[in-house]
């Protein structure tokens, strides 16, 4: 563009500029503190409308009362004092959305916090939206491959499902979520990881890990850190799902991880108590169920007529000393379509991921599995269930009859192959191969302690020499011929 055209453009802009009286509706601050402000005036203020305080701080109107408005402040509030003027913006709280957010770390207001370029998006999505209705949905049929053998085989997750990850602190909840993100590479999935009340160092470590494994190319990280105000922690998951909805509206599949919702519930409790809403059980406000149900209902698989696309939600809940009967865990268990239960005991026994197979379920079930996985997983589940019954007798191995011994033997081998190191998700075809091999007794001659080493070598062999067979399995093909071929390949490996 030459200088002349710029000048012309400017002239045009200035000429078209019209003087106009700007009217703004205002209120005054009555009291401020603890991230909460009470305002008078603002008679026409809407619920969850953004309010502009002096100094560029924004707030959200949450309580509309007869003479006052109760609002939370989304940022620094030390400079705000009694008598200050507050302006209405006329905008419901919304976040900027767009493709340019992929690969970035943002706060719940959509501002970048990774030190990179600022994002100026023109599109905004409201953070609160009513979930899609019955007529726009369809059954969940496609799998989300987590790359974790125990989950993909026994607790399959489908695109559009809501699967809770629950467990005590330090049991590997985040690890399951991060592995799942890493495994989405090349699977046409966009991931949104919402970190709520996490240490900044942990978020930095996760982002570094995702970058290292190339997963940031399809991931957005929304982070409300431990030092952010409670209001931001409360809004973070809604901001995350709003960004996800933008991609779903383009017919894409999105995976949303909320890490973790117990901290969000605490933040909401803090805000509610400060706004003087009456406390209920465990001092949570009365609508804490709605807090989570309206968020998780937005996960869905939409049908073609409604534009397609899906949002899969993996909420995380941290329990205290394994107590799943606390208020928030029971609520979220009842909302979701199943849960992955992680246990400290198993974790310390070296079974990692520390999945309790007995009480973990997925209510979508085998509908979200590829055919070969369905075939081999059925047998695996049965064997594992029988093994759990007999496990207690394992110590008296010498006094047992041959049948029981055989079952325990098989169970121990299966336990070994369900162990999996962190950050090493496995392709589904390899999962099928190894589960087939062990549950059909083809690895019975390998000592239990050497099963894992045997497995590593087996995968190497398969990837090197049987790539076409794995491809077929990956595509979901399964018949007697393929089964025979797989069996042959395993025999071949054993001979080698």
């Amino acid at each position: 563009m030459s200088i002349n055209t710029i000048v012309e453009e400017l002239k045009k802009n200035i000429a078209s500029f019209e003087k106009q009286v700007q009217t703004e509706e205002i209120g005054t601050v009555i009291s401020v503190g603890d991230g909460i402000a009470r305002l008078s005036g603002l008679t026409k203020c809407q619920a969850s409308e953004m309010l502009e305080f002096p100094g560029g701080t924004f707030g959200v109107a949450l309580n509309l009362e007869e003479e006052t408005v109760g609002s939370v402040l989304l940022g620094e509030y030390k400079h705000i004092k009694e008598g200050d003027t507050v302006k209405r913006t006329g905008r419901i709280l919304s976040v900027p959305v767009g493709d340019e957010f992929i690969g970035r770390v943002v706060n719940p207001l959509g501002e970048t916090i990774d030190g990179g370029k600022e994002i100026h998006s023109k599109k905004f999505y409201p953070i609160e939206k009513i979930a899609p209705g019955v007529m726009t949905r369809e059954p969940v049929t496609q799998p989300v491959q987590t790359g974790i053998k125990a989950i993909d085989a026994m607790i399959p997750i489908g695109r559009g499902q809501r699967e809770l990850i629950i467990g005590d602190r330090q049991t590997g909840k985040t690890a399951v979520a991060i592995d799942t993100i890493i495994n989405q590479k090349g699977k046409d999935m966009i991931c949104v990881y919402v970190a709520i009340g996490q240490k900044e160092s942990k978020v930095a470590r996760i982002v570094a890990k995702l970058k290292e494994s190339g997963a940031m190319d399809y991931t957005i990280v929304v982070s409300a850190g431990a030092s952010d105000p409670a209001s931001l922690l409360y809004f973070a998951p809604y901001a995350g799902v709003a960004m996800a909805e933008y991609f779903m509206d383009q017919g894409k599949d999105v995976l949303c991880i909320y890490d973790d919702l117990s901290k969000q519930a605490w933040a909401y409790r803090e805000v509610s108590l400060l706004l003087r809403r009456p406390p209920g059980r465990e001092a949570f406000p009365g609508d804490v169920f709605y807090l989570h149900s309206r968020l998780l209902e937005r996960a869905c698989r939409r049908n073609k007529e409604a534009g397609g696309g899906s949002i899969t939600a993996l909420p995380i809940i941290e329990t205290q000393a394994g107590d799943v009967t606390a208020y928030i865990p029971t609520n979220v268990i009842s909302i979701t379509d199943g849960q992955v239960f992680l246990e400290g005991d198993l974790f310390y026994r070296g079974i990692r991921p520390a999945l309790n197979v007995g009480i973990s379920v997925s209510r979508v079930g085998a509908a979200a599995q590829i055919k070969p996985m369905k075939k081999v997983a059925g047998k695996l589940k049965l064997n594992m269930a029988q093994f759990r019954e007999l496990e207690a007798f394992a110590q008296f191995a010498s006094d047992l009859d041959a049948d029981t011994k055989k079952q325990i033997d098989l169970g121990q081998r299966l336990m070994e192959i369900l162990k999996q190191p962190q950050y090493q998700p496995m392709p589904v075809a390899n999962q099928v191969a190894i589960i087939y091999a062990v549950s059909n007794g083809l690895a019975n001659d390998v000592p239990v302690k050497e099963v894992r080493a045997w497995e590593t070598k087996f995968h190497e062999f398969m990837n090197k020499t049987k790539a076409t067979l794995l491809d077929k399995i990956e595509k979901g093909e399964w018949n007697d011929e393929i089964e025979k071929e797989l069996k042959g390949a395993i025999e071949e490996f054993k001979k080698a």
Binding site: I14, K19, V21, Q22, T23, E24, I26, T43
Partner: protein, 128 residues
């Protein structure tokens, strides 16, 4: 039960002192101060008085506006502005040179901004 707001005290005071004079008015005021002391509201008395004044003005249909300008205005212009808002208007006029020109009027819950400062800011936004 929620605590009484300043506005409620002001309302109560207004209702109680309506049509009272002399000795009786004095007694009611004394009682009222006693109630404030009982409710630990003496600190709020300034705000309650402010609410009281506001309440009276609303009751008598007086509108309050604040006019801010860059330079001093003559009475004629001020009266013209007042007329826009009705015939029972009380205006406080202040001067803020940073407006550069024009006028900014604040009513109870609205700001009418016709200042040069805001216009220039808007122009800046459009050009940027």
């Amino acid at each position: 039960m929620t605590k009484n707001t300043n506005r409620q005290y002001a309302k109560a005071l207004f209702e109680a002192t309506k049509n009272l004079k002399g000795e009786k008015l004095y007694k009611v005021l004394e009682k009222f101060a006693g109630i404030l002391a009982r409710d630990h509201k003496l600190k709020q008395s300034k705000n309650i008085i402010r609410e009281f004044v506001k309440y009276i003005k609303i009751g008598e249909g007086i509108k309050e506006i604040q006019i801010t300008t860059a330079r001093e205005l003559d009475i004629k212009t001020i009266n013209k502005i007042k007329d826009v808002f009705g015939n029972n208007v009380e205006a406080t006029v202040s001067i803020d040179p940073s407006l550069l020109g024009g006028v900014r009027i604040r009513t109870e819950d609205k700001i009418l901004d016709a200042s040069l400062q805001t216009q220039l800011l808007k122009l800046k936004q459009i050009i940027a």
